[in-house]
Symmetry: none
Subunit: 556 residues, 2 copies
């Protein structure tokens, strides 16, 4: 456990000439963890500060919750003070002093601006347990920059209640200079998108809106970003292709790619965390609190990856390579790019339909979705559909990125953060069959017409499988009703990449005031959904494809 966390929190700070601080992670806050590596010694001190800062923000989050416990006197005491401002009556510490307070026996200190805080007494109330200790001896600020939830007076007040001193001013100034917001240049988003997190931006539509259209409009397509959105320009864009063992890499400009024969497919893309909120209801997990709308369907136009690889010199029957790795233009504060890979057979399979797409629903792919090039790997988890594609590597190995190696994998319900071994599970590729009830939504009131209610939703399966049936029940499975398909793509398996929109009218008992609706789908391999979330729960909250269950009130 310690080893894994250590690996995730080694931070390196350098990107495009501007020193910026970015801090992600912390499963307690359901945020993402990133992989960093150390570049040179001069960054070590700052790294150590940031190491703790990762979890520092988390503390702030819990301060909000704890705020009700703080006495009115305490709040008054700090009310007129600027949080983190210098306090004449308190001692001054330098970064080295602070980083030496990183264990319980030596007390746990953190910094915020010029403030130094001893949070040792807060630690035991921390629901995430010992993991809070990672914040020890460093600053909470980078995390607060990333997650706007901390812009809350309560957080500052609670933090100040643990104030013990001041940070050496010179060091503090140096630190502040580094903290430029990496999210300063994000694209504008549609108000209908409901964020699961703002920085990085992750958002979905209300489910009722989602299934109004077989094709999801670009502006309403769920956004799942792991990092700040890069601002790539069509004119200067270059895609680099490396075939391992071949010295010379090949580059394609956007116009080069557009000259190659193009293909359009209709494909659904889904986040591995879609419907995670159902899993969280059972037991907390690490991950964004996605509802059932971290999914969308679009037409994607681009050049088949196999054609590009072959034109880059890859021989189709060469079996020495096993994977095709992708690197996005989105990078963390260390300059490490987002990365993922897919097995080479899928990349080369004519029926795999893997595209380097430059159009989404007939227009250039919007920035949030990967402008100018996104890999579309239909039937495969969104995380491998790398956006802002800058580099392809044909390799014998999988991508070594955090997201391929230590994230986006499934585990047994009994595996916890103390026993998890990420090397033991394969990276998610094809996704299993799933469905969701989108209308009516949880807790809503539904009009009963002719003793029936109308239920509507989507179903989808990975790997090019088609949905062959959706069963819906309002009596706990005593009677199942086969849904009608309102819209299903004509493509045949194994190239059926899009979801199915279904609807069904179900009789309800005349006396019932409320019902729980269940839906389950069956795909063309006759795989079906597992019944209950308890038995598929996993610590990362991925693959949440149990029966979708929605409770509604009835109105006559």
């Amino acid at each position: 456990m310690y080893r894994i966390l250590q690996r995730f929190t080694t931070i390196e700070i350098k990107r495009r000439g501007v020193q910026a601080i970015q801090c992600c992670g912390l499963h307690e806050l359901n945020k993402e963890q990133h992989n960093f590596s150390n570049e040179n010694k001069s960054f070590k001190r700052t790294r150590n500060i940031l190491l703790g800062a990762v979890v520092g923000g988390c503390i702030g989050y819990y301060f909000i919750e704890k705020s009700k416990l703080v006495s009115a006197e305490e709040i008054k005491k700090y009310n007129n003070d600027e949080p983190g401002s210098f306090k004449e009556d308190l001692p001054v510490y330098n970064l080295e002093d602070i980083s030496s307070h990183a264990t319980r026996d030596k007390r746990i200190w953190v910094t915020y601006k010029e403030g130094v805080y001893d949070i040792t007494n807060f630690i035991d109330t921390h629901p995430g347990g010992d993991q809070i200790l990672l914040a020890a001896g460093s600053s909470v600020e980078p995390f607060w920059l990333l997650y706007s939830i901390h812009e809350n007076p309560h957080v500052y007040k609670i933090l100040e209640s643990y104030r013990i001193g001041n940070l050496n001013k010179d060091e503090c100034n140096n630190l502040t200079k580094d903290m430029t917001d990496p999210y300063f240049n994000e694209p504008k988003r549609h108000n209908a998108l409901k964020p699961a997190s703002k920085k990085p931006f992750n958002a979905e539509l209300p489910p009722e809106l989602l299934i109004q259209s077989f094709i999801t409009p670009n502006e309403l397509f769920y956004v799942r970003n792991h990092l700040p959105v890069p601002d790539l320009k069509a004119e200067t864009y270059e895609l680099e292709i490396e075939i391992e063992g071949v010295k010379k890499t090949k580059s394609f400009r956007l116009e080069d790619l557009k000259k190659l024969p193009k293909k359009t497919i209709t494909a659904t893309i889904m986040c591995a965390g879609n419907r995670r909120s159902d899993m969280i209801k059972h037991k907390p997990v690490k991950g964004l609190n996605w509802g059932p709308a971290a999914i969308g369907t679009a037409t994607w136009t681009g050049v088949p990856l196999r054609d590009v690889l072959i034109s880059a010199g890859l021989k189709e029957d060469d079996d020495k390579f096993k994977h095709v790795q992708f690197e996005g233009g989105d990078s963390d504060v260390t300059g490490k790019m987002y990365g993922a890979s897919i097995p080479i057979w899928r990349a080369l399979d004519k029926r795999g339909d893997v595209l380097l797409a430059y159009e989404m629903n007939g227009v250039p792919i919007p920035r949030d979705h990967g402008f100018p090039i996104r890999v579309i790997v239909p039937g495969v988890v969104g995380a491998r559909n790398v956006k802002w594609l800058e580099k392809i590597t044909v390799s014998d190995k999988e991508s070594d990125s955090h997201w391929q190696q230590n994230d986006y994998k499934g585990f047994s319900p009994s595996t916890d953060w103390d026993t998890v071994d990420f090397t033991k599970s394969p990276a998610i590729q094809e996704l299993p069959v799933i469905s969701a009830i989108c209308q009516p939504s949880e807790g809503s009131t539904v009009k009963v017409e002719q003793d029936k209610i109308t239920v509507k939703g989507y179903a989808w399966s990975g790997g090019g499988h088609k949905i062959v049936r959706v069963d819906v029940t309002v009596d706990g499975g005593k009677s199942w009703h086969v849904a009608n398909f309102e819209h299903q793509d004509a493509a045949l398996p194994p190239q059926h990449w899009a979801w199915t929109i279904w609807t069904v009218k179900i009789p309800v008992d005349k006396k019932s005031k409320n019902v729980e609706i269940w839906a389950k789908a069956v795909d063309s391999s006759y795989n079906t959904q597992p019944e209950s979330v308890e038995n598929i729960w996993n610590l990362r909250g991925v693959l949440s494809n149990a029966y979708h269950k929605v409770k509604v009130n009835l109105k006559r």
Copy 2:
């Protein structure tokens, strides 16, 4: 219900010039039901007799059990008589007399050879209940021809204890002539195979034996025959290949096929009805009462189907054909061959590994498994792995055979025989993920060692998916234990065709006297098994892949 039975038991008798009687069907006996049509009026009487005779044999079976109750005197009484021989001192009846005794109030009569028997007093001791009445007023012989268990002196003795008369000799001779056994030339089978039906022969191993070996020995491989086993000869064997729209068909002799480049794969084949017995426990279905061993794994050597099709003139990129149909050398009494088809993309896919196999585990494929050529479609339901392959047709259409169109399809739990529409469901091809606990077996007593019990089983998934995890619980899912893989093939998805043998030691409560063990598998698409059989139940009892649940007693 009546309509269905009527449909399945209308019998037509004509095959290869010899009038033979074949009797299949009757789901009450968990036998296969076949579609027959009536050819002419003259067969009606015989048909009626046979209708009852099907179950007549069943009576004989129970006679064995009842034999211990028969007095020594009774046995002596009939000891020196040939069963069913003419008895001078008894009256003579004709078929019409006998068929008039088919209800309790008129007494229940049956015939065996020249003997007439009143079995009314036996009926109430029949464990199968009223179903025995189907034998009323007709001959038991066809059934005894089908099930060799009746070749037992006890059965004859008990039968003779109910003797009341003689059958009109002329009629009897006519009857005997019609009863040529279509199963007269079946291969010899290993005694360890436990028949689910004898004619056609369908049998599986006891589960504990099944998982003793990653490769299932040929002699112990489950047998699933729909019809009598044809006796094809290597020297005269010919495979005909027709490409629709091309006048000239192409023929391959066995030696022609063997000259083509060969390939060997390790693949598991499974019957769609595997584990149907679990479904039957919930609610009756139509189909053989398979346990969890209608599955086996072998190495298959043969020539890739794609190579044969291309050498027969099929163009790989010709998209006017959609299916490849197969016809076996096994035919029903009308001369109609067993048939099935697969989508052409699978047949032509290099990674599909579809073989025209002539070797099973390194030796010529045994007769029961398709000598001399069986299509191996790895990852796809056994029913499409056509045995005794005689013809291939490349077509725009699926096979029109009963087994492709009106069998081997999945339905909603609420679909019954009055509402079923076979055109609405796709023919099963790829099978979903499944697992089974093979050791300990249901109801057995298990030794607890160091507070743990050892559980062992298999898991498999269709479509070339690999098993990535098996979870086992003995506390209803409160705690899941990840099984170890005792043997798993190294082949990577999407060409992982073989099962996984797993084992796990699970702690059991010190006070427990018995436990229910549950197992579920997860495959490389992260599909997992549905929990309960109730919600996947279907009228045909196929795709029974719910959690496998086995109750055992504990011994310390």
